[in-house]
């Protein structure tokens, strides 16, 4: 009997708190959304289960403890290893032709980073976050999970969990967040602008793109090189046509393995003692602000560009909203919105893919600039 009591006092039940229970509920919501709504399931399932693991008292399964998850955290996140490998996979899976066929859309991808800076400034000046924390929160507006994790792990490791959850949650909520903003900022006439097909791009140009971009971006902002360099390397092995095995591995097994580890350790940063505070709530609010301003930034800049474009080369401003990254979700949202509004007459999926993939480069560059000044 005494042994049984001793076993009970040494069990996790004896140390289980209300905070742990609340975190189980948070994990349950993420897993529910992933399974029933298909919201970013590849990330939300590992993150959700990581939260459960981190909230098992005495189990040493949190990222900040001493167990196996902490081992992965220390060797994969703290060392900045995992996010760039995800970028390698993204490079393999991304077709940059829509961007290369319409280079003007590079600028829409830049304008759609506006939310990063608005949210960062709001966090710093209005909510008293430190500059490093504010920059890490702002990068949620880039709508790029690995970039958010990459920056937060270096500038604000204490906020890594909330930032990652906000980034991936809002990315999955793009179909809900963006349409009202697009509707508010565009007229019916603007939505009806039917853009011609982009000019075809030669294979040589497609192969030169990752090489040239990797060199120029990494020379300009060296801190962005881990992300941009790996993104462009991945794209080169996709496009060169002679590395089929590398392409298959980097875009398949490798990125899947890293996604499992990344999701699990990010979820495991969310022990109740780190997650349940007002800062988490503020991160979630600011993340939504960042997303909204990034969407508006791309849209408004497209409208400004239209002032200078000849009549037959006007841009459908809705495609500016796709500049928030979240590839390819944001482009699909724009396509569906415009198609629904025009009874299927206008279908800007390919034009929207241009700013969409430019946004990936834009947010990585913004993260690199923050690292340059704040690390």
């Amino acid at each position: 009997m005494e042994s049984a009591l001793e076993l009970l006092t040494k069990s996790g039940f004896a140390y289980f708190s209300w905070g742990n229970l609340i975190m189980f509920a948070v994990a349950g919501i993420l897993i529910y959304l992933a399974i029933t709504k298909h919201y970013e399931p590849l990330l939300l399932i590992p993150i959700g289960f990581g939260i459960i693991l981190a909230n098992l008292p005495l189990a040493q399964m949190g990222s900040y403890g001493e167990g196996i998850i902490a081992l992965i955290y220390n060797s994969g996140i703290k060392t900045e290893l995992l996010p760039p490998i995800i970028f390698l996979g993204i490079g393999v899976l991304t077709d940059f032709r829509p961007l290369l066929g319409r280079p003007l859309t590079f600028l829409l991808g830049a304008a759609a980073q506006l939310g990063i800076f608005v949210a960062a400034l709001g966090a710093y000046y209005l909510l008293d976050f430190s500059p490093r924390e504010a920059a890490s929160i702002g990068i949620i507006g880039g709508a790029d999970g690995p970039t958010s994790i990459f920056l937060a792990s270096q500038l604000a490791p204490d906020l890594l969990g909330p930032i990652a959850v906000a980034a991936y949650s809002y990315m999955s909520l793009v179909p809900i967040i963006q349409p009202p903003i697009i509707r508010l900022l565009t007229t019916h006439k603007e939505r009806q602008i039917d853009m011609p097909q982009a000019r075809p791009v030669s294979r040589t140009a497609v192969i030169l793109f990752p090489v040239v971009t990797g060199i120029i971006a990494s020379l300009a902002i060296p801190s962005s090189a881990p992300l941009i360099g790996m993104l462009m390397f991945g794209n080169l092995i996709r496009e060169c046509g002679v590395t089929e095995r590398l392409k298959r591995t980097a875009g398949g097994a490798l990125v899947d393995i890293v996604t499992i580890f990344l999701g699990l350790v990010v979820g495991a940063t969310m022990g109740a003692e780190y997650f349940l505070n007002w800062k988490t709530l503020m991160v979630l609010v600011l993340g939504a602000v960042a997303f909204a301003f990034s969407t508006a930034g791309g849209l408004i800049f497209a409208k400004i560009l239209n002032l200078f474009m000849p009549h037959d080369h006007k841009i459908n401003p809705c495609i500016g909203a796709a500049g928030v990254s979240a590839v390819p979700m944001a482009a699909r949202v724009v396509q569906k919105f415009v198609s629904d509004e025009t009874d299927g007459q206008v279908n800007p999926l390919m034009p929207a893919m241009g700013p969409n993939v430019a946004g990936v480069i834009g947010s990585a560059v913004a993260a690199g600039v923050f690292l340059t000044f704040l690390l």
């Binding site: 590079f106 304008a111 500059p131 030669s202 040239v212 480069i361 600039v369």
Partner: protein, 70 residues
């Protein structure tokens, strides 16, 4: 500790993103112009064979384009 001026950092970062992507746009436009996409030319023997085959079924038809879809 000296607190960095986040406003100027954000302004610099926004300008840097715009400038870098604008430079990439110009460079890629130049590369696309230099290495322009060429429409694949169809083999003369294939064109003759297709023309002969179609003319046999629809006499007088003029073949203007033969496209290979893989």
């Amino acid at each position: 500790m000296h607190s960095p001026d986040l406003l100027s950092i954000c302004l610099t970062a926004f300008i840097a993103v715009f400038t870098l992507l604008a430079v990439l746009a110009i460079v890629m436009r130049l590369i696309a112009a230099i290495f322009a996409h060429k429409e694949p030319t169809i083999d003369a023997a294939v064109l003759a064979a297709v023309t002969a085959a179609v003319s046999a079924v629809y006499p007088g038809t003029i073949i203007t384009k033969v496209e290979e879809v893989k």
